[in-house]
Amino acid sequence: MEGLMTLWQSTGLANFVLGQVIMMTVGFGLLYLAIVKKFEPLLLLPIGFGALLTNIPLAGFTDAGGLLHYIYYIGIETGVFPLLIFMGVGAMTDFSALIANPKMLLLGAAAQFGIFATLFGAILLNLIPGFEFTLADAAAIAIIGGADGPTAIFLASKLAPELLGAIAVAAYSYMALVPIIQPPIMKALTNNEERQIQMEQLRPVSQREKIIFPLMVLFAAILFLPSATPLVGCFCLGNLMRECGVVDRLSKTAQNEMINIVTIFLGLAVGSKLSADQFLTVETLGILALGAVAFGIGTACGVLMAKLMSRLSGGKINPLIGAAGVSAVPMAARVVNKVGLESNPHNFLLMHAMGPNVAGVLGSAVAAGILLALV
Protein backbone atom coordinates (compact mmCIF):
# COMPACT_ATOMS: atom_id res chain seq x y z
CA MET A 1 0.00 0.00 0.00
CA GLU A 2 2.82 2.38 0.81
CA GLY A 3 4.08 1.47 -2.66
CA LEU A 4 0.82 2.75 -4.12
CA MET A 5 1.14 5.89 -1.99
CA THR A 6 4.69 6.50 -3.18
CA LEU A 7 3.47 5.88 -6.69
CA TRP A 8 0.65 8.38 -6.29
CA GLN A 9 3.10 10.95 -5.04
CA SER A 10 5.15 10.27 -8.14
CA THR A 11 2.29 10.81 -10.58
CA GLY A 12 1.98 13.93 -12.65
CA LEU A 13 -1.58 14.47 -11.37
CA ALA A 14 -0.37 14.93 -7.80
CA ASN A 15 2.36 17.37 -8.77
CA PHE A 16 1.01 19.55 -11.54
CA VAL A 17 1.46 23.27 -11.17
CA LEU A 18 -0.84 25.62 -13.04
CA GLY A 19 1.98 27.07 -15.11
CA GLN A 20 2.89 23.63 -16.38
CA VAL A 21 -0.68 22.99 -17.46
CA ILE A 22 -0.72 26.26 -19.37
CA MET A 23 2.62 25.54 -21.02
CA MET A 24 1.43 22.07 -22.02
CA THR A 25 -1.53 23.74 -23.67
CA VAL A 26 0.93 25.99 -25.48
CA GLY A 27 2.87 22.90 -26.52
CA PHE A 28 -0.29 21.24 -27.82
CA GLY A 29 -1.13 24.47 -29.59
CA LEU A 30 2.22 24.43 -31.39
CA LEU A 31 1.67 20.78 -32.37
CA TYR A 32 -1.77 21.73 -33.67
CA LEU A 33 -0.33 24.57 -35.75
CA ALA A 34 2.38 22.27 -37.07
CA ILE A 35 0.25 19.24 -37.92
CA VAL A 36 -3.17 20.63 -38.79
CA LYS A 37 -2.27 24.09 -40.05
CA LYS A 38 1.08 22.92 -41.48
CA PHE A 39 2.83 25.99 -40.02
CA GLU A 40 6.61 25.42 -40.28
CA PRO A 41 6.06 21.82 -39.13
CA LEU A 42 9.73 20.83 -39.32
CA LEU A 43 10.44 23.10 -36.38
CA LEU A 44 7.16 23.73 -34.62
CA LEU A 45 6.53 19.99 -34.17
CA PRO A 46 9.78 19.32 -32.27
CA ILE A 47 9.45 22.64 -30.42
CA GLY A 48 5.91 21.83 -29.36
CA PHE A 49 6.90 18.34 -28.31
CA GLY A 50 9.85 19.71 -26.39
CA ALA A 51 7.47 22.11 -24.62
CA LEU A 52 5.35 19.15 -23.52
CA LEU A 53 8.34 17.20 -22.26
CA THR A 54 9.95 20.07 -20.41
CA ASN A 55 6.81 20.81 -18.40
CA ILE A 56 6.20 17.29 -17.13
CA PRO A 57 6.40 17.39 -13.34
CA LEU A 58 9.11 15.17 -11.80
CA ALA A 59 10.33 13.90 -15.18
CA GLY A 60 13.39 16.14 -15.04
CA PHE A 61 13.97 16.52 -18.77
CA THR A 62 15.79 19.82 -18.21
CA ASP A 63 17.46 18.92 -14.91
CA ALA A 64 21.13 17.96 -14.92
CA GLY A 65 21.16 14.47 -16.41
CA GLY A 66 17.95 14.95 -18.37
CA LEU A 67 17.77 14.47 -22.11
CA LEU A 68 16.75 18.03 -22.97
CA HIS A 69 19.35 19.43 -20.61
CA TYR A 70 22.08 17.60 -22.53
CA ILE A 71 20.71 18.59 -25.91
CA TYR A 72 20.40 22.25 -24.95
CA TYR A 73 23.78 22.32 -23.30
CA ILE A 74 25.59 20.68 -26.22
CA GLY A 75 23.75 22.26 -29.11
CA ILE A 76 22.35 25.64 -28.20
CA GLU A 77 24.54 26.97 -25.43
CA THR A 78 27.53 26.35 -27.71
CA GLY A 79 25.75 27.80 -30.73
CA VAL A 80 26.62 24.68 -32.71
CA PHE A 81 23.11 23.60 -33.77
CA PRO A 82 21.95 26.86 -35.39
CA LEU A 83 25.29 27.07 -37.19
CA LEU A 84 24.93 23.54 -38.55
CA ILE A 85 21.38 24.31 -39.66
CA PHE A 86 22.71 27.38 -41.39
CA MET A 87 25.31 25.22 -43.15
CA GLY A 88 22.55 22.93 -44.37
CA VAL A 89 20.40 25.87 -45.46
CA GLY A 90 23.40 27.24 -47.35
CA ALA A 91 23.71 23.89 -49.11
CA MET A 92 20.02 24.11 -50.07
CA THR A 93 20.08 27.70 -51.33
CA ASP A 94 20.52 28.68 -54.96
CA PHE A 95 21.81 32.22 -55.31
CA SER A 96 21.37 32.35 -59.09
CA ALA A 97 18.47 34.78 -58.93
CA LEU A 98 20.47 37.16 -56.77
CA ILE A 99 23.64 36.92 -58.84
CA ALA A 100 21.63 37.60 -62.00
CA ASN A 101 20.14 40.73 -60.43
CA PRO A 102 22.38 41.88 -57.59
CA LYS A 103 20.42 45.11 -56.98
CA MET A 104 17.94 42.93 -55.15
CA LEU A 105 20.39 43.08 -52.24
CA LEU A 106 19.08 46.57 -51.55
CA LEU A 107 15.65 45.10 -50.83
CA GLY A 108 17.24 42.61 -48.44
CA ALA A 109 18.94 45.57 -46.77
CA ALA A 110 15.85 47.76 -46.49
CA ALA A 111 13.79 45.01 -44.89
CA GLN A 112 16.28 44.84 -42.02
CA PHE A 113 14.86 48.11 -40.75
CA GLY A 114 12.28 45.83 -39.16
CA ILE A 115 15.07 44.61 -36.88
CA PHE A 116 16.43 47.95 -35.79
CA ALA A 117 13.05 49.62 -35.39
CA THR A 118 11.98 46.72 -33.17
CA LEU A 119 15.09 47.16 -31.07
CA PHE A 120 14.03 50.74 -30.46
CA GLY A 121 10.50 49.55 -29.77
CA ALA A 122 11.67 46.99 -27.24
CA ILE A 123 13.47 49.69 -25.29
CA LEU A 124 10.36 51.89 -25.50
CA LEU A 125 8.35 49.06 -23.94
CA ASN A 126 10.31 49.68 -20.75
CA LEU A 127 8.03 52.68 -20.28
CA ILE A 128 5.30 50.20 -19.41
CA PRO A 129 5.73 48.93 -15.85
CA GLY A 130 6.72 45.27 -15.77
CA PHE A 131 9.09 45.45 -18.70
CA GLU A 132 12.78 45.72 -18.04
CA PHE A 133 14.53 44.83 -21.25
CA THR A 134 18.26 45.48 -21.36
CA LEU A 135 19.88 46.47 -24.62
CA ALA A 136 20.98 42.86 -25.07
CA ASP A 137 17.42 41.64 -24.53
CA ALA A 138 16.13 44.20 -27.00
CA ALA A 139 18.69 43.17 -29.61
CA ALA A 140 17.78 39.48 -29.19
CA ILE A 141 14.08 40.31 -29.55
CA ALA A 142 14.68 42.56 -32.53
CA ILE A 143 16.29 39.78 -34.54
CA ILE A 144 12.81 38.20 -34.86
CA GLY A 145 12.42 40.84 -37.57
CA GLY A 146 15.15 39.02 -39.48
CA ALA A 147 12.59 36.31 -40.20
CA ASP A 148 15.28 33.69 -40.08
CA GLY A 149 15.12 30.93 -37.46
CA PRO A 150 18.75 29.86 -37.03
CA THR A 151 19.94 33.46 -36.93
CA ALA A 152 17.38 34.29 -34.26
CA ILE A 153 18.28 31.26 -32.14
CA PHE A 154 22.00 31.88 -32.51
CA LEU A 155 21.76 35.51 -31.48
CA ALA A 156 19.29 34.89 -28.64
CA SER A 157 21.49 32.11 -27.23
CA LYS A 158 24.36 34.62 -27.07
CA LEU A 159 22.55 37.75 -25.89
CA ALA A 160 19.47 36.64 -23.92
CA PRO A 161 19.26 32.87 -23.36
CA GLU A 162 16.36 33.27 -20.91
CA LEU A 163 14.25 34.78 -23.68
CA LEU A 164 15.28 32.17 -26.25
CA GLY A 165 12.06 30.15 -26.05
CA ALA A 166 9.76 33.10 -26.65
CA ILE A 167 11.99 34.53 -29.37
CA ALA A 168 12.23 31.26 -31.29
CA VAL A 169 8.52 30.57 -31.01
CA ALA A 170 7.71 34.09 -32.17
CA ALA A 171 10.16 33.87 -35.07
CA TYR A 172 8.85 30.56 -36.39
CA SER A 173 5.21 31.45 -35.76
CA TYR A 174 5.40 34.70 -37.65
CA MET A 175 7.41 33.05 -40.43
CA ALA A 176 4.50 30.64 -40.76
CA LEU A 177 2.06 33.53 -40.64
CA VAL A 178 3.77 35.44 -43.45
CA PRO A 179 0.89 34.61 -45.86
CA ILE A 180 -1.45 36.39 -43.45
CA ILE A 181 0.76 39.25 -42.26
CA GLN A 182 2.27 40.38 -45.53
CA PRO A 183 -0.49 40.70 -48.18
CA PRO A 184 -2.44 43.56 -46.52
CA ILE A 185 0.74 45.57 -46.09
CA MET A 186 1.81 44.86 -49.65
CA LYS A 187 -1.54 45.90 -51.04
CA ALA A 188 -1.79 49.02 -48.88
CA LEU A 189 1.57 50.32 -50.13
CA THR A 190 1.16 49.56 -53.84
CA ASN A 191 -1.47 50.36 -56.44
CA ASN A 192 -2.87 47.84 -58.86
CA GLU A 193 -0.82 49.18 -61.75
CA GLU A 194 2.42 48.66 -59.86
CA ARG A 195 1.42 45.15 -58.87
CA GLN A 196 0.93 44.27 -62.54
CA ILE A 197 4.46 45.16 -63.59
CA GLN A 198 6.09 42.23 -65.34
CA MET A 199 9.81 41.83 -64.92
CA GLU A 200 12.37 40.70 -67.51
CA GLN A 201 13.50 37.11 -67.42
CA LEU A 202 16.72 36.70 -65.43
CA ARG A 203 19.94 36.00 -67.27
CA PRO A 204 21.52 32.58 -66.85
CA VAL A 205 24.34 32.45 -64.31
CA SER A 206 27.59 30.53 -64.83
CA GLN A 207 28.85 27.90 -62.40
CA ARG A 208 31.99 29.97 -61.85
CA GLU A 209 29.91 32.87 -60.59
CA LYS A 210 28.01 30.58 -58.25
CA ILE A 211 31.26 29.19 -56.84
CA ILE A 212 32.87 32.58 -56.36
CA PHE A 213 29.77 34.15 -54.79
CA PRO A 214 29.90 32.45 -51.36
CA LEU A 215 33.63 33.09 -51.11
CA MET A 216 33.05 36.74 -51.95
CA VAL A 217 30.36 37.11 -49.31
CA LEU A 218 32.59 35.43 -46.75
CA PHE A 219 35.49 37.67 -47.70
CA ALA A 220 33.37 40.80 -47.32
CA ALA A 221 32.26 39.61 -43.88
CA ILE A 222 35.86 38.88 -42.91
CA LEU A 223 37.01 42.36 -43.91
CA PHE A 224 34.16 44.40 -42.52
CA LEU A 225 32.15 42.40 -40.02
CA PRO A 226 34.04 39.50 -38.40
CA SER A 227 31.32 39.15 -35.77
CA ALA A 228 28.99 37.94 -38.53
CA THR A 229 31.41 35.27 -39.74
CA PRO A 230 30.13 32.37 -37.63
CA LEU A 231 26.72 32.65 -39.34
CA VAL A 232 27.96 33.85 -42.72
CA GLY A 233 30.86 31.38 -42.72
CA CYS A 234 28.71 28.32 -42.10
CA PHE A 235 26.17 29.48 -44.65
CA CYS A 236 28.85 30.07 -47.26
CA LEU A 237 30.54 26.75 -46.54
CA GLY A 238 27.25 24.98 -47.21
CA ASN A 239 26.68 26.98 -50.37
CA LEU A 240 30.23 26.42 -51.59
CA MET A 241 29.87 22.66 -51.06
CA ARG A 242 26.66 22.80 -53.07
CA GLU A 243 28.00 24.75 -56.01
CA CYS A 244 31.61 23.62 -56.34
CA GLY A 245 30.58 20.31 -57.86
CA VAL A 246 33.41 18.26 -56.34
CA VAL A 247 31.99 17.37 -52.92
CA ASP A 248 28.43 16.40 -53.83
CA ARG A 249 28.31 13.65 -51.22
CA LEU A 250 29.12 16.14 -48.46
CA SER A 251 26.61 18.65 -49.81
CA LYS A 252 23.83 16.08 -49.99
CA THR A 253 24.48 14.90 -46.45
CA ALA A 254 24.55 18.49 -45.18
CA GLN A 255 21.19 19.29 -46.76
CA ASN A 256 19.51 16.04 -45.80
CA GLU A 257 20.57 13.75 -42.97
CA MET A 258 22.72 16.26 -41.09
CA ILE A 259 20.17 19.06 -41.14
CA ASN A 260 17.36 16.63 -40.31
CA ILE A 261 19.12 15.23 -37.25
CA VAL A 262 20.07 18.69 -36.04
CA THR A 263 16.55 19.99 -36.70
CA ILE A 264 15.01 17.38 -34.40
CA PHE A 265 17.44 18.25 -31.62
CA LEU A 266 17.29 21.99 -32.17
CA GLY A 267 13.51 21.93 -31.97
CA LEU A 268 13.52 19.89 -28.78
CA ALA A 269 16.13 22.15 -27.23
CA VAL A 270 14.19 25.28 -28.09
CA GLY A 271 11.06 23.63 -26.71
CA SER A 272 12.94 22.95 -23.49
CA LYS A 273 13.05 26.72 -22.94
CA LEU A 274 9.25 26.84 -22.93
CA SER A 275 9.09 26.17 -19.22
CA ALA A 276 6.43 27.97 -17.24
CA ASP A 277 8.80 30.16 -15.25
CA GLN A 278 10.65 31.42 -18.32
CA PHE A 279 7.75 31.70 -20.74
CA LEU A 280 4.71 32.77 -18.72
CA THR A 281 5.90 36.30 -18.16
CA VAL A 282 4.74 39.65 -19.37
CA GLU A 283 7.97 39.80 -21.39
CA THR A 284 6.69 37.01 -23.62
CA LEU A 285 3.61 39.03 -24.47
CA GLY A 286 5.85 41.96 -25.29
CA ILE A 287 8.05 39.77 -27.46
CA LEU A 288 5.09 38.39 -29.39
CA ALA A 289 3.75 41.89 -29.98
CA LEU A 290 7.15 43.23 -31.01
CA GLY A 291 7.65 40.29 -33.35
CA ALA A 292 4.48 41.12 -35.26
CA VAL A 293 5.56 44.75 -35.47
CA ALA A 294 8.98 43.69 -36.68
CA PHE A 295 7.54 41.60 -39.51
CA GLY A 296 5.21 44.41 -40.49
CA ILE A 297 7.88 47.11 -40.55
CA GLY A 298 10.31 44.84 -42.39
CA THR A 299 7.73 44.06 -45.05
CA ALA A 300 6.74 47.71 -45.41
CA CYS A 301 10.33 48.90 -45.74
CA GLY A 302 11.07 46.22 -48.32
CA VAL A 303 8.05 47.23 -50.38
CA LEU A 304 8.81 50.95 -50.08
CA MET A 305 12.40 50.39 -51.16
CA ALA A 306 11.16 48.35 -54.12
CA LYS A 307 8.79 51.15 -54.98
CA LEU A 308 11.65 53.62 -54.98
CA MET A 309 13.76 51.32 -57.16
CA SER A 310 10.78 50.81 -59.45
CA ARG A 311 10.46 54.57 -59.95
CA LEU A 312 14.19 55.04 -60.50
CA SER A 313 14.36 52.15 -62.98
CA GLY A 314 11.44 53.51 -64.97
CA GLY A 315 9.00 50.84 -63.89
CA LYS A 316 11.04 47.73 -64.51
CA ILE A 317 10.70 46.44 -60.95
CA ASN A 318 7.49 45.16 -59.42
CA PRO A 319 7.37 46.67 -55.90
CA LEU A 320 5.75 43.55 -54.49
CA ILE A 321 9.08 41.70 -54.54
CA GLY A 322 10.35 44.02 -51.82
CA ALA A 323 8.23 42.09 -49.34
CA ALA A 324 10.42 39.03 -49.92
CA GLY A 325 13.38 40.96 -48.51
CA VAL A 326 12.48 39.97 -44.96
CA SER A 327 13.71 36.44 -45.85
CA ALA A 328 11.34 33.77 -44.39
CA VAL A 329 12.63 31.64 -47.29
CA PRO A 330 10.80 30.45 -49.36
CA MET A 331 7.43 31.44 -47.89
CA ALA A 332 7.78 35.19 -48.50
CA ALA A 333 8.71 34.67 -52.15
CA ARG A 334 5.66 32.46 -52.62
CA VAL A 335 3.44 35.09 -51.06
CA VAL A 336 4.83 37.68 -53.46
CA ASN A 337 4.08 35.35 -56.35
CA LYS A 338 0.53 34.77 -55.13
CA VAL A 339 -0.25 38.46 -54.60
CA GLY A 340 1.24 39.21 -58.02
CA LEU A 341 -0.93 36.58 -59.69
CA GLU A 342 -4.03 38.09 -58.10
CA SER A 343 -3.40 41.32 -60.00
CA ASN A 344 -2.15 39.77 -63.20
CA PRO A 345 -2.72 36.05 -63.76
CA HIS A 346 0.21 35.85 -66.18
CA ASN A 347 2.74 37.51 -63.93
CA PHE A 348 4.98 34.94 -62.28
CA LEU A 349 7.16 36.76 -59.76
CA LEU A 350 8.53 33.71 -57.91
CA MET A 351 11.98 33.77 -59.48
CA HIS A 352 12.30 37.52 -59.16
CA ALA A 353 11.30 37.32 -55.50
CA MET A 354 13.95 34.69 -54.76
CA GLY A 355 16.66 37.33 -55.18
CA PRO A 356 15.44 39.63 -52.36
CA ASN A 357 14.44 36.52 -50.41
CA VAL A 358 17.96 35.11 -50.16
CA ALA A 359 19.32 38.64 -49.86
CA GLY A 360 17.20 38.91 -46.73
CA VAL A 361 19.03 35.92 -45.23
CA LEU A 362 22.36 37.64 -45.79
CA GLY A 363 20.91 40.92 -44.54
CA SER A 364 19.78 39.48 -41.24
CA ALA A 365 23.05 37.60 -40.73
CA VAL A 366 24.79 40.94 -41.24
CA ALA A 367 22.42 42.65 -38.83
CA ALA A 368 23.08 39.88 -36.29
CA GLY A 369 26.79 40.49 -36.71
CA ILE A 370 26.33 44.20 -36.03
CA LEU A 371 24.28 43.50 -32.92
CA LEU A 372 26.87 41.01 -31.66
CA ALA A 373 29.64 43.53 -32.25
CA LEU A 374 27.98 46.57 -30.69
CA VAL A 375 25.73 45.30 -27.89
Partner: protein, 81 residues
Protein backbone atom coordinates in the same frame (compact mmCIF):
# COMPACT_ATOMS: atom_id res chain seq x y z
CA UNK B 1 14.14 57.40 -16.42
CA UNK B 2 17.75 58.55 -16.71
CA UNK B 3 18.64 55.00 -17.51
CA UNK B 4 15.79 54.65 -20.00
CA UNK B 5 16.79 57.72 -21.96
CA UNK B 6 20.33 56.36 -22.10
CA UNK B 7 18.96 53.11 -23.45
CA UNK B 8 16.83 54.96 -25.97
CA UNK B 9 19.88 56.86 -27.11
CA UNK B 10 21.82 53.65 -27.49
CA UNK B 11 18.94 52.09 -29.41
CA UNK B 12 18.65 55.07 -31.76
CA UNK B 13 22.38 55.01 -32.32
CA UNK B 14 22.27 51.26 -33.03
CA UNK B 15 19.42 51.80 -35.47
CA UNK B 16 21.34 54.43 -37.38
CA UNK B 17 24.67 52.62 -37.40
CA UNK B 18 23.00 49.30 -38.10
CA UNK B 19 21.08 50.43 -41.17
CA UNK B 20 24.09 52.29 -42.53
CA UNK B 21 26.29 49.24 -42.17
CA UNK B 22 23.69 46.86 -43.61
CA UNK B 23 23.28 49.06 -46.68
CA UNK B 24 27.00 49.64 -46.99
CA UNK B 25 27.76 45.94 -46.72
CA UNK B 26 25.12 44.75 -49.15
CA UNK B 27 25.86 47.68 -51.43
CA UNK B 28 29.48 46.63 -51.52
CA UNK B 29 28.33 43.13 -52.42
CA UNK B 30 26.36 44.53 -55.35
CA UNK B 31 29.51 46.12 -56.72
CA UNK B 32 31.48 42.93 -56.13
CA UNK B 33 28.89 40.78 -57.87
CA UNK B 34 28.79 43.07 -60.86
CA UNK B 35 32.56 43.05 -61.13
CA UNK B 36 32.55 39.27 -60.78
CA UNK B 37 29.89 38.89 -63.46
CA UNK B 38 31.96 41.00 -65.80
CA UNK B 39 35.00 38.79 -65.34
CA UNK B 40 33.54 35.33 -64.77
CA UNK B 41 30.06 35.47 -66.27
CA UNK B 42 31.18 34.28 -69.72
CA UNK B 43 30.79 30.51 -69.64
CA UNK B 44 27.03 30.20 -69.29
CA UNK B 45 24.74 27.36 -68.34
CA UNK B 46 22.19 26.30 -70.92
CA UNK B 47 19.13 26.20 -68.67
CA UNK B 48 17.86 29.41 -67.06
CA UNK B 49 17.54 30.07 -63.36
CA UNK B 50 15.05 27.76 -61.68
CA UNK B 51 13.91 26.89 -58.18
CA UNK B 52 15.96 28.48 -55.42
CA UNK B 53 15.36 25.70 -52.94
CA UNK B 54 15.85 22.16 -54.19
CA UNK B 55 16.26 19.77 -51.29
CA UNK B 56 16.26 16.44 -53.04
CA UNK B 57 15.51 17.19 -56.63
CA UNK B 58 19.00 16.29 -57.86
CA UNK B 59 18.48 12.74 -56.68
CA UNK B 60 15.19 12.45 -58.42
CA UNK B 61 16.30 13.81 -61.74
CA UNK B 62 19.41 11.61 -61.71
CA UNK B 63 17.23 8.62 -60.94
CA UNK B 64 14.72 9.50 -63.65
CA UNK B 65 17.57 9.83 -66.10
CA UNK B 66 18.82 6.37 -65.17
CA UNK B 67 15.34 4.93 -65.43
CA UNK B 68 14.82 6.52 -68.81
CA UNK B 69 18.15 5.19 -70.02
CA UNK B 70 17.34 1.71 -68.76
CA UNK B 71 13.96 1.78 -70.43
CA UNK B 72 15.32 3.00 -73.73
CA UNK B 73 17.88 0.18 -73.68
CA UNK B 74 15.23 -2.38 -72.82
CA UNK B 75 12.93 -1.19 -75.57
CA UNK B 76 15.75 -1.21 -78.09
CA UNK B 77 16.61 -4.79 -77.21
CA UNK B 78 12.95 -5.66 -77.32
CA UNK B 79 12.50 -4.21 -80.83
CA UNK B 80 15.52 -6.02 -82.20
CA UNK B 81 14.16 -9.41 -81.17
Amino acid sequence: MENLSNLLGDAANLMLVGMVVVFAFLGLLIICIELMSKFFGGEIETKPVQSAIRPNSTNDTARSAKITAAISAAIHQHRQK
